[in-house]
């Protein structure tokens, strides 16, 4: 049984033929579409390294069946920068040392973008920690991550205000 699905990945419409309906979104991205920025840490929902946005919401791509997402819009870490210009969340992670080895970072950044879009984190660091708790960092860069999320949230809010004005 071959199954054909359509996905919009980082703004590009793609048609993918799945020879096995069991493939996860994570394996599809990494093994079939050469989008290896999304990482596989645990493959069971516990680490967040595989976080991507599906229809604007953050999910663990290791727990999502690709076939189930026919018609969905997917954003991965590769889809953030605008040419050489980093996305504000990427820039804030660099500014605040939000990583050491960097393995968890694509997932952290996608999760942070999801969190900021959800729009109810406020500026309480404890609330940020709760809402980012699906992303584990074995290097323990949590302090920098929390600062980066707070700053990026501010930058994006200002940008939205400017755009609205």
């Amino acid at each position: 049984m071959s199954l054909s699905i359509g996905l919009t990945i980082n703004g590009q419409p793609r048609t993918v033929a799945l020879d096995d309906p069991r493939v996860t979104l994570l394996d599809l991205l990494r093994e079939r579409l050469d989008l290896t920025g999304t990482k596989k840490g645990c493959d069971r929902g516990q680490c967040g390294a595989c976080t991507v946005l599906v229809d604007g919401r953050r999910i663990n791509s290791c727990l999502a069946l690709a076939a189930s997402l026919d018609g969905a819009t997917v954003t991965t870490i590769e889809g953030l920068a605008d040419g050489e210009a980093l996305h504000p969340v990427q820039a804030a992670f660099i500014e605040h040392d939000g990583f050491q080895c960097g393995f968890c970072t694509p997932g952290q950044i996608m999760s942070a973008i999801g969190l900021i879009a959800e729009g109810h984190a406020g500026d309480d660091p404890e609330r940020i920690r709760e809402l980012m708790s699906g992303n584990i960092c074995r290097c323990g860069a949590y302090q920098g991550i929390t600062e980066a999320v707070l700053e990026a949230q501010k930058t994006l809010a200002e940008r939205n205000r400017r755009d609205a004005a």
Binding site: M1, R44, G45, L63, A64, L65, S68, S111, S133, I136
Partner: protein, 286 residues
């Protein structure tokens, strides 16, 4: 090669279910981890195309929560204060990434003793709506979850909704979870309480504890002892003095039976006080 089907409406799904064995896939957050390292070998019935099973509506005498409603949907929805405990539990299910996909029915069908949705739903008198191609039946949640990973779901059936009688939505509720760390953790024990206060007196009390028995349990003896008490320290004293025969905790990797028994009493106290408006809600870490 396995079969994969994604029906567009419930009747189509039930017709498929009636003609052979399928594994139902909802949010997939228990489905995948349950496979472990063995490849998926069963036919997959993906219910993510059934939009009629998602959302919360008032239908006659019940508040009906569609089977596919996610924990995020529940957190964001304006609901009476009796649902506060369920919302707090929703915030404790894994992480936001999990909550965005994981469904309420998946939590019940997975039937883990540590399922955080079960104690608050027990305090809301929830019943489970089961449908097959030929029959619709309603079971009290107590009769749906039969044991560790065991439910009353029959071949050919699926859960279509969780129904909460409006008569059980009075009062205020709370949920307290004990885990080995603050976030993203399986419960060592958890407690939910819903209290209706009239003129400073407990008029109605519903209390349930999970992870301290094969199946989460209502503490009916304690509920009776709380009724009629004035709001205040008498509530905590009563929790301390009442025997809780429903709790039959076991030793496991997350804690000993003895520890669980003590911890359960403590979180029950906190949940009861919080639901009665007398305690800042705190989460505990071991």
């Amino acid at each position: 090669m396995i079969r994969y089907a994604k029906p567009k409406n419930v009747d189509e799904a039930l017709a498929l279910l009636s003609d052979g064995p399928w594994r139902i896939l909802a949010g997939g957050t228990d489905f995948y981890p349950a496979l472990g390292n063995r490849p998926l070998s069963e036919n997959v019935l993906d219910i993510n195309g059934l939009s009629e099973l998602r959302g919360i509506a008032e239908v006659g005498s019940h508040i009906v929560v569609g089977a596919r409603t996610t924990w995020t949907d529940i957190i964001r929805r304006d609901l009476p204060a009796a649902f506060d405990g369920l919302k707090l539990a929703a915030r404790e299910v894994g992480s936001v990434q999990i909550q965005n996909r994981a469904s309420i029915a998946g939590n019940l069908c997975n039937a883990s003793p540590a399922a955080d949705g079960v104690p608050p739903l027990l305090t809301l008198g929830a019943e489970v709506e089961l449908r097959s191609a030929s029959l619709t039946r309603h079971l009290p949640l107590e009769d749906f979850i039969l044991g560790n990973r065991r439910t009353a779901l029959q071949p050919g059936e699926m859960v279509t909704a969780i129904r909460i009688p409006k008569s059980a939505t009075a009062g205020t509720s709370a949920f307290v979870k004990l885990g080995a760390r603050r976030y993203l953790v399986i419960s060592i024990a958890m407690a939910a309480a819903r209290i209706v206060v009239e003129d400073g007196i407990v008029a109605e009390a519903a209390v349930a504890v999970g992870s301290c028995s094969l199946v989460a349990k209502r503490l009916t003896g304690l509920e009776a002892a709380l009724r009629g008490l004035p709001i205040g320290p008498a509530l905590a004293e009563t929790v301390a003095a009442t025997s809780l025969p429903e709790l039959a905790p076991i030793d496991d990797v997350r804690g000993t039976a003895e520890y669980r028994r003590e911890a359960a009493r403590e979180i029950v106290t906190r949940a009861v006080l919080a639901a009665s408006g007398h305690h800042p809600l705190t989460k505990v870490a071991a």
